[in-house]
Subunit: 246 residues, 2 copies
């Protein structure tokens, strides 16, 4: 069994612990977190000096603390990875072998999610470490990708567009409904269908609407409707221009 | 059986014909379209003078032609509806009883979709017609809503945000992937999860990301990464500001 220690007790750490718990190839032998909170009965410590010997240490703490935590590890030459989309590999302390184990998904504390379909983006400093990371990744997911730091930075940026920004457009839809005494439920089937369409069609093929059709009359009507929401009007204009340029 | 005639042979007409075909309460007794193309073996005409007597005429033609088509109908006092989100009820010719039968969904010609979950937005000039429309709507969908013209205009605007604009953000994600030799497949689980989250959480609760956290360092890094894509940079700035204002 490959022995793993997970550092952190946030969203990603919690979901990783649960996923590895079901794996027969990888065993989480110890947890580290500041409050020494155990999960799934796994031994836990909050002292760096008590960290056991393991094949892999996964630092799943806030981006800002990854470097600090990696510098506190009281050993050398072992494989240490972080789970962040936006932190470079070389922000990890150079005393250990470094790598990245980035799950490209948005985790919520109270929402279960199966790891099997989550893309795991792997980076390592040498072939052997890469193979170990791939082995560990495949023990919980079908989707394992080799991704360098530059590509990972781009993925993280793309994720902001398709997750954070998309969710904000949902919030705007919700606001427009509320203002007009309409239930947001009305929009949910459309939201689901829009996300489903790009499973089998490129987003360019799936694009429809007044902007795409250059239907200036409808665009103008919509802008007029948005006169009392200047921020949303700006978003409407910016996205309409971008669709027409695409 | 309630007798319905469907005018038009586009996306909406085709999906409606298929949905009513399975209903035991409503029968489509005739189709009208310019090329006289039959579907499901239903009698078809391309001559307005050959239109039969029916309880309901559904005009499912392009927005720009709804008024024209409604004026060509050679009868008076019958119930005539259109299926558009953005056309007012009174753009229909006043010689007939007027209504709206707006399915709030995005249809594609080659993609089957079940009508059962599609919200049908109903508007009519009087109670009796409204009841008939509700009866017909319930024969194909569980979700029937009374929505006036003003509300429908707002829904259509909201739909542009959660469908057309969201799809464009997917296209931007796709572009960023391509530019970095990454498969768009990497983003698909995140897209699916983002859409799924708002089934049980409000979009405001589901909001995450650097804009929401006021993580100005990451926002600035992302803007730098977008220096070669001025249009996408503008979108990033506009949406970040709007999230922070929300
Ligand atoms: N959330 C996601 O959807 C997601 C997706 C992919 C990747 N990631 C990445 O995964 C990593 C963890 O994210 P998360 O969402 O799990 O974060 P989170 O839920 O906010 O949890 C952060 C964790 O970091 C710990 N921590 C912070 N500073 C620390 C320090 N100086 N020493 C020790 N522990 C410290 C916290 O411990 P305390 O509880 O003791 O404060 C907490 O357990 C980040 O790099 C993030 O970019 C997140
Ligand atoms: N597509 C959607 O996702 C969707 C969703 C909700 C509501 N709607 C609304 O549903 C209506 C139809 O949209 P659609 O997407 O089905 O359109 P579509 O696929 O583009 O089809 C338009 C239809 O209109 C017919 N038509 C156009 N001008 C006509 C005229 N002067 N006389 C007779 N027929 C004419 C066309 O006939 P020919 O084939 O002979 O040209 C065609 O059958 C519109 O009001 C639209 O706003 C659409």
């Amino acid at each position: 069994m490959t022995k793993v220690i997970i550092i952190g007790s946030g969203n990603v750490a919690t979901h990783l612990i649960k996923a590895f718990y079901k794996s027969s190839k990888v065993q989480v032998i110890q947890l580290f977190n500041r409050s020494a909170t155990s999960t799934e009965g796994i031994p836990v410590t909050n002292s760096y000096d008590e960290l056991l010997n393991a094949d892999l240490y996964i630092i799943a703490v806030s981006d800002d603390s990854i470097s600090e935590v990696s510098h506190k590890l009281p050993f050398k030459g072992r494989l240490v990875v972080h789970t962040s989309g936006s932190v470079a590999l070389d922000e990890l302390a150079p005393e250990n072998r470094r790598g990245v184990f980035y799950p490209l998904q948005s985790f919520s504390r109270n929402k279960d999610i199966s790891f099997a379909g989550i893309p795991l983006c792997i980076e390592a400093g040498n072939d052997e470490d890469r193979k170990l990371l791939e082995y560990v990744a495949h023990s919980i997911s079908r989707k394992v990708y080799r991704v360098n730091s530059e590509q990972r930075r781009s993925l993280h940026l793309a994720a902001v567009f398709v997750n954070n920004f998309v969710n904000h457009l949902y919030a705007i839809g919700n606001d427009i409904c509320k203002k007009n005494d309409l239930s947001f439920d009305l929009l949910k089937p459309l939201i689901a269908e829009t996300a489903e369409k790009i499973e089998n069609m490129s987003p360019a093929e799936a694009q429809t609407g007044p902007a795409k059709r250059h239907d200036e009359t409808t665009v103008q009507k919509h802008l007029d409707q948005l006169n009392t929401y200047p921020t949303y009007k700006k978003i409407y204009e910016t996205l309409t221009k971008s669709i027409q340029k695409h």
